[in-house]
């Protein structure tokens, strides 16, 4: 299924070359494309190069595939269902989400509005295909650490890029929504600004987020939090990658409305967290994630008072 989703990203004439890469979908993290440069595949912790016949190699060989700008255009058109106009907003934001929640980051020449804001992008010559990995049970170890007497603690997941924050958040949402031995099932509202958590495609989630979860797809976090509170009465709100002052204002508003909050943020220390303007006593659990062997893992969990709950 997931292998098929990866292959579906590419049009027919290019698809063949990704057959062997797609077979390694479980350890596949990124496929990086740049016009007239070698195609790179990040598998586990290794960077591999794709050759003309679709084989992966650790060195740049003579038969290495240097993807042409025209081939990248074909891929982009295919990803956009030959309807680029429909993905105008996504391209402006710099990424497109495809079925399965896989996110395709794009870069090229930016077109600006008169007021200096980004209007669109042309000559897209760089793509980063990030493969979404749904791991059922990823949050099993974390669940007891973020509950106290059946009460869910406001939790912030902290980690550098590719440390598994979104994967952990996704499974937390699923378990909180369905209910577990640590607490009853709760009504969860998810603001999925980049369609990465639920992997929604045309409104239908591609990942399992539980039976009591409402998803606001493609909505900015600061607006989405209030929209969900007004319309869907969530007990818990989950958001990915908070960081702006606007996001924090909305998080505080959610707390004032009595909602519990589960969020993620980029960083690897408490200093990073404070730098983003997070209140010291705002969240009750700070969960640090990081690279752990071949994959990602839970590094430590602290309470708001700094007490170590897990190391």
């Amino acid at each position: 299924m997931k292998e098929e989703q990866v292959l579906n990203i590419f049009p027919n004439r290019i698809r063949e070359r990704f057959q062997k890469t797609a077979k390694r979908v479980d350890e596949l993290q990124e496929i990086r494309l740049a016009a007239e440069l070698p195609v790179r595949v990040i598998c586990g912790r290794k960077e591999l190069f794709l050759n003309q016949t679709g084989e992966l190699s650790e060195i740049i060989g003579t038969d290495c595939w240097y993807i042409h700008a025209g081939e990248m255009e074909q891929i982009l058109n295919h990803i956009c269902n030959y309807s680029r106009y429909a993905y105008e907003e996504d391209i402006r934001r710099g990424f497109i989400t495809v079925p399965g929640g896989h996110r395709i980051g794009v870069a090229g020449q930016v077109i600006l509005n008169e007021n200096g804001t980004v209007r669109n992008m042309k000559y897209i010559r760089y793509m980063n295909i990030r493969i979404s990995h749904e791991i059922i049970g990823a949050a099993d170890t974390l669940m007891p650490l973020i509950h106290e007497d059946g009460k869910l603690m406001n939790t912030l997941l902290i980690g550098p890029p590719r440390s598994g924050k979104t994967t952990m958040l996704r499974d937390l949402i699923r378990q909180i929504s369905n209910g577990s031995k640590w607490a009853r099932g709760r009504q969860v509202g998810v603001i999925d600004e980049r369609s990465e958590i639920a992997g929604s495609y045309m409104g239908m989630p591609g990942n399992h987020l539980g039976i009591r979860t409402d998803i606001l797809d493609g909505c900015p976090k600061d607006q989405g939090i209030m929209m969900l509170i007004r319309s869907m009465a969530p007990e818990v709100i989950a958001v990915d990658e908070i960081g702006s002052s606007m996001d924090m204002q909305s998080v505080r508003a959610a707390w004032q409305c009595g909602c519990r909050m589960i969020a993620t943020i980029h960083g690897d220390s408490m200093e990073d967290v404070y730098r983003h303007g997070i209140d010291k006593r705002g969240f009750e659990r700070y969960v640090f994630l990081g690279r752990n062997g071949g994959g990602f893992g839970l590094m430590e969990v602290r309470s708001a008072e700094g007490e170590m709950k897990h190391a």
Binding site: R15, Q74, Y82, S83, R84, Y85, A86, E88
Partner: protein
Amino acid sequence: MLKGAGAVLLMLGSCGFALSICRERNRRLQLLKEMREMFRLLQNEICYTALPLPEILKLVGEKVNAPFGKALLLTAEHMRLENGEEFQTVWEEKMKEMLKETSLTAQQKQLLINFPECMGMNESTGQANALNRYIEELELMIAVQREEEKSKNKVIMSLGIAAGLFMVIILL
């Protein structure tokens, strides 16, 4: 008596033949108008809903009469299969299949097959403008067809009557 009946039948036959040619030409104009309607609907959907093409083709396919409506639905269905085929290929295949049963000229058929060339704009307004230019080209084709119809239908009918009279004179 028999000769008179034969003469009438000959005249009716040749006029009927001429009339069927004219009808076929009228049908061609009708098809072009339906084609214009289809692209106007596509343009509106792109402007107001900005849905991806497979969705729009399905929506418009349900509103437009056969043969275009059916061809749009088949194209949309094929695109949803996600078998990696390019839109140009799918469109060409489905349209060529449908065009077999129509009386459009080679030039008119080519215009329809070339439709994917005007797709691929980054913004919905730009895409709608590109479609507008395509529709203008279609309008021009309709105007030419209408003019041709007016003048040539008269000639065809006259020739039909003349041919009937000629056969009556020769055979009877």
